[in-house]
């Protein structure tokens, strides 16, 4: 069992190497341009998400393979000669898609990346076509978190971020090219929501193209302790003058 695991891991490493070498799948996690000392974090979906994908893989595998096997046995009983002839084809149909699907799940997991900074987020997704979406928090209109019962069992939730405009829902699904950023499989979705919400609350614009209002806040900030100290001294001196 251990040997099989090691061998499959080795095969997967080889596959990964060829993908990065010949299919130019980027090896490094994505990042975002940032100033010094700024908080930037790149991360993958949680482990639970991978387990969730695997769970549905096994579920689908059993359902489809049992149906296929029953069909094959039925042919075998009805026409034994044909049954023998199609054995290799039947085995191939039953086994090959499973392997492909299993590898695809892992590749999908390994090529999904999320980046968060203080100001914006980036999502990378895809193997053949690699999509990268960049959204600044200032443009975000609303945040959804959803979690189904199975997802709760595996301990993760999905977070959907939407910007102004519409039409995103039907066209591209989870890949999300339109006005939305989907972060699937987050084990700490509420924390990330809090982080984004805090940022949005600090921003006073409506989020559709109007000017920054923060110049106002910077002028009202005004006095420093040094100023106050100086004003006290001045007050004292004027008091002396007045007597």
């Amino acid at each position: 069992m251990e040997n099989i695991r090691r061998a499959s891991e080795w095969c997967y490493q080889g596959l990964w190497y060829s993908l990065t070498k010949w299919f130019l799948v980027p090896r490094d996690p994505p990042s975002l341009p940032s100033t010094e000392g700024e908080w930037v974090q790149s991360f993958r979906p949680s482990e639970g998400y991978l387990n969730y994908l695997r769970f549905f893989f096994w579920l689908g595998l059993f359902a489809i393979d049992i149906a296929l096997t029953i069909g094959w046995i039925a042919i075998f009983i009805a026409l034994p000669i044909v049954g023998v002839l199609i054995t290799p084809i039947a085995l191939a149909i039953i086994v090959l898609p499973d392997i492909v699907a299993y590898i695809a799940i892992h590749l999908r997991y390994d090529t999904t990346w999320y980046v968060l900074t203080d100001r914006s987020m980036r999502i990378r997704r895809g193997i053949w076509t690699i999509h990268e979406t960049t959204i600044t928090f200032e443009n975000i209109q609303n945040i959804h978190i959803h979690q189904g019962p199975v997802e709760r069992y595996f301990g993760f939730a999905s977070l959907l971020v939407e910007t102004a405009g519409g039409g995103g829902a039907q066209a591209h699904g989870a890949a999300g090219l339109g006005h939305r950023g989907m972060m699937e499989g987050l084990s700490n979705a509420p924390e990330i929501r809090e982080l984004i919400m805090q940022r949005i609350k600090q921003i006073k614009s409506a989020g559709i193209g109007d000017d920054h209002v923060d110049s106002e806040t910077s002028t009202t900030r005004g006095f420093t302790p040094q100023h106050v100290q100086l004003l006290r001294e001045i007050n004292q001196l004027t008091a002396q003058l007045a007597t």
């Binding site: 110049s215 420093t224 003058l241």
Partner: protein, 180 residues
């Protein structure tokens, strides 16, 4: 020996992309269009001329405020947008595009359609272009915030100086009165 090793490690400083130099798609885009057209098999005779005209007429113009993009031979189209209205930036690279070093940079504003308002095709420096657009879009306040804090710290310093001056003058007045 040591010195060469150190020299090899020096990473060339990445020049910021001069976007105004981008006026049209890179020649690799034509190769990409050719491959795409061939992949449609029977449709190649219809798709290839259309894509060829698109390639020949595609023009970009990046200025300080926004981007304009125009294409078309019989039916001409022009799309203009300003950097400040950009909401999402998408970069997508298919496998063929990656082999050719191309990428599509799609830009979305707050319009009602799910398809991007502008898909800038045939860009070799997609990462740099995205960084440029990112720096210009709303909410990535790198430049604005530093400029503002500079300004406010300047006024703060001036206020401090003025207050100090007033205090010193008052002190002199007090001294003068006590002498009298």
């Amino acid at each position: 020996m040591n010195q060469t090793a150190i020299e090899a490690q020096v990473v060339p400083v990445k020049q910021p992309l001069d976007v105004s130099a981008i006026r049209g798609p890179a020649p690799q885009l034509l190769t990409y269009y050719l491959i795409v057209a061939i992949l449609t098999l029977p449709g190649v005779f219809f798709v290839l001329p259309a894509l060829w005209f698109r390639y020949r007429t595609l023009q970009y113009k990046f200025d300080d405020e926004g981007i304009s993009m125009r294409w078309g031979l019989f039916f001409r189209r022009e799309v203009l947008l300003t950097y400040r209205k950009i909401q999402d930036i998408h970069v997508s690279r298919g496998i063929i595009q990656r082999w050719l070093g191309l990428a599509t940079v799609s830009v979305q504003t707050a319009s009602g359609s799910a398809t991007p308002e502008m898909s800038i095709e045939g860009i070799l420096e997609a990462e740099e272009l995205r960084d440029y657009l990112y720096a210009k879009m709303r909410g990535s306040r790198q430049n604005v915030s530093t400029a503002q804090s500079d300004e406010s710290s300047q006024t703060e310093n001036e206020v401090t100086e003025l207050l100090m001056g007033i205090r010193d003058n008052l002190a002199k007045l007090v001294d003068a009165r006590e002498v009298r």
